[in-house]
Symmetry: C4
Subunit: 246 residues, 4 copies
């Protein structure tokens, strides 16, 4: 059994690699997008792949990066430009240990229409705080978050929530652990798909109440038993699809 929050660098690096493969295999990430984990041996750095598609990442591709976005690992491998997002969010949210940045197609319509994403299913319960849309891009950066100033602005915009969208681009997610951030990314996508269809069917959508959402988060989504089952499932699927993992 993989521990949810690893105690060693080695286990943290393995979790980032597995999360990347899983998110590629489940169709949540394509060539672009990335995940990171806080270094369990030093809370002021984090692990993230070099600039590479999540589908291809191995443990040898993982870099150690600090909260200013500096690459600590002695290497000439190139980091992602948007490592800034991960640095800024892990710095601003010490209670969180994992960050996701990606562009699942199902969520982007909600970022360009003013229609908010709502918690409509028990696996979307973690969205109950609301999902605001960031639209304050630094001019000249091509809608990529790549400067320290914009990283801090992103962190302020997310506030104490778990998820926000970036207009015409994608989303950022924070969670306590890698399995929880992977579950959040997959179920954000699924909740958006279901909400879209529900809004096509009828105008009165019944969402989870705040009380229901908090309970569902605790018992049905991020509870130890369901989260272990999900994590094991996604690994099993990734191993069948990607024989080099087995």
């Amino acid at each position: 059994m993989e521990k949810f929050v690893p105690e060693t660098k080695k286990d943290a690096i393995r979790q980032v690699m597995l999360a990347s493969r899983i998110l590629a295999n489940e169709g949540v990430l394509d060539a672009l997008g990335h995940v990171s984990i806080r270094n369990p041996e030093n809370p002021d750095t984090f692990f993230q792949s070099r600039s590479l598609s999540p589908y291809e990442i191995t443990e040898q591709d993982i870099l150690e990066i600090d909260m200013e976005g500096n690459v600590i690992t002695k290497t000439d491998m190139k980091p992602y430009g948007e490592r800034i997002i991960h640095a800024a969010l892990l710095k601003a949210r010490p209670e969180m240990n994992a960050v996701f940045h990606g562009h699942p197609a199902a969520i982007i319509p909600f970022s360009i229409t003013g229609v908010p994403i709502l918690p409509v299913t028990h696996v979307g319960s973690f969205l109950y705080q609301g999902v605001p849309v960031y639209d304050d891009y630094e001019p000249g950066c091509g809608m990529l978050i790549s400067t320290k100033v914009e990283g801090e602005r992103i962190a302020r915009h997310l506030g104490n929530r778990r998820v926000h969208l970036l207009r015409g681009h994608g989303c950022n997610i924070v969670a306590e652990s890698i399995p929880a951030v992977v579950a959040s990314a997959i179920y954000l996508r699924d909740n958006a798909t279901i909400q879209f269809q529900a809004m096509m069917l009828g105008k009165d959508i019944k969402c989870l109440s705040e009380e229901e959402a908090k309970q569902a988060m605790e018992k049905a989504l991020f509870g130890e038993l369901p989260l272990m089952r999900m994590w094991g499932y996604w690994i099993a699927r990734a191993k069948r699809a990607m024989p080099d993992l087995a």
Copy 2:
């Protein structure tokens, strides 16, 4: 040829395992959700996997459980919390031998909009009695059905029907056999997808009449010839996708 209703524990356990793999392979179940079968050697117990994704289940993971939800098998393997649903439905419906609980995305919009699922295709004929939506969750349980009292409420809500939805969560299905419950789960999903598109196209949807539905159930869906063909097909596909089954 697999018998539709097995005569031995061993064959029943194999059917639960196959149904789990099939439903994972056909995209009806993901990490969550489960099926069960009444014990053919003791109608007061049933077989269901330990807490594990349907994708990964083997015959060694199947537990025997009684109608109060107690695990009979001597083991320290953990059962699903929602085994309560299966216990309550198999107790309330002695003519049925198999139960499905899951969360196919295509059906959930119908659970939160007040728009009813209707039998619009011959393979959706088993829905002719109506598909009510349960929305009387026990407070504090996170929308999971995990107490005996709520299990009984669920059984009363289903009544003499085959399918009901759980608001913002998923559905329960009962059937006479494992192949019939698997067919019901797959075609509930397909009927919902088709109905959704039909409702987008036009306001006047022609459904099956009750007479048509009853005949289609008997001849086109749960008849021996079509059901054998479906079951063989789903097994053949699962075996190709999951080489350990072959």
Copy 3:
């Protein structure tokens, strides 16, 4: 190179088998549905599989059947109940050599809403004669076409067209050859998907004119070069997905 219209029983049987595998592999057929080919050595019989999913069919499963639906092959293998459709259409349309009956989900909404399928793409050009919806089911047959009387009614309803829908059930297609009937089934599905989305986007849909459609049929769809390319492509994909074919 497979010939489009085979000259021998052996080649005809192989084409039915390949078409069945292709249509399963392309997601047009699931457990149900079937194709047939006129016997090139006797125009009064045709070849079709025994009652089996198209995904699993081998050359050993193919039966010879006459235009009344009688099984000519000496065997105790069971035929499809709906072989009646194939017998009736091949009898009524001597210029056609192949029949498809199936239930692709994308077309069924058009069968229950009164919204007609229209030729909106060059690969949907063969639909220019219109796609009527049959809704005159024999009572008591469960919406299956299984009597000689209803087979004849089906043939009259199709008339001189290539495709019609069966309300809440599926469609029948006729064509000059197995590759052409496979192309028709796949592109009927694709044209329906595209038309559905177009109707969601706007109310004024520009269809192919009759003149455009006739030219596109001849040059872009059923011309020797494109049809050979399609047929080779579908076989190559089926062989990769189904190693027993290779």
Copy 4:
């Protein structure tokens, strides 16, 4: 690392083969459609496969063709009829080295409804010049572009843009390199899917401004780092799905 613009015929031929396989593997091309690359050793000819599905193309299938559409390679292999499109566009656009012609389903609704494709995501930024719809087909050609006159008309219609649609048929795309044309084809499809859903959700869609689009093209889409990541990703996926490539 594959170079973006190859320097030799051999490398150019390999890129056309890889692009064809990638586009088949990503579901952008099926049996029909094709890509081409300008000959790096002679700007007045280009490389393109013989008439074959992109899924099956090997380096042995690539022909050299001149800007009038004449096959230069000594061979009896048959070229695509629509090589005319590639010849006309490469002749008219000397700054471009790669052409895509195909029929991704998600774009066709925009070609028959008068609803324009808009740049709604950062990976759709290359669409900022507008995506006009060609509807001036030569009578009698079945909506295929197969005469020199119509090729020139197509080139004039595209003008200085990167993409246009062909009504009821598909699209043409030009780009500086094969990786860029592949990215354009994949993200045109994804942008269309997202725009479609956004238009279903709300009437006020926020698009990229021209300034945002130009910056995003340069930094997020066709920049060396992201484009290398995409190209490597698509190749890795194609190699896993098509073992003969590895």
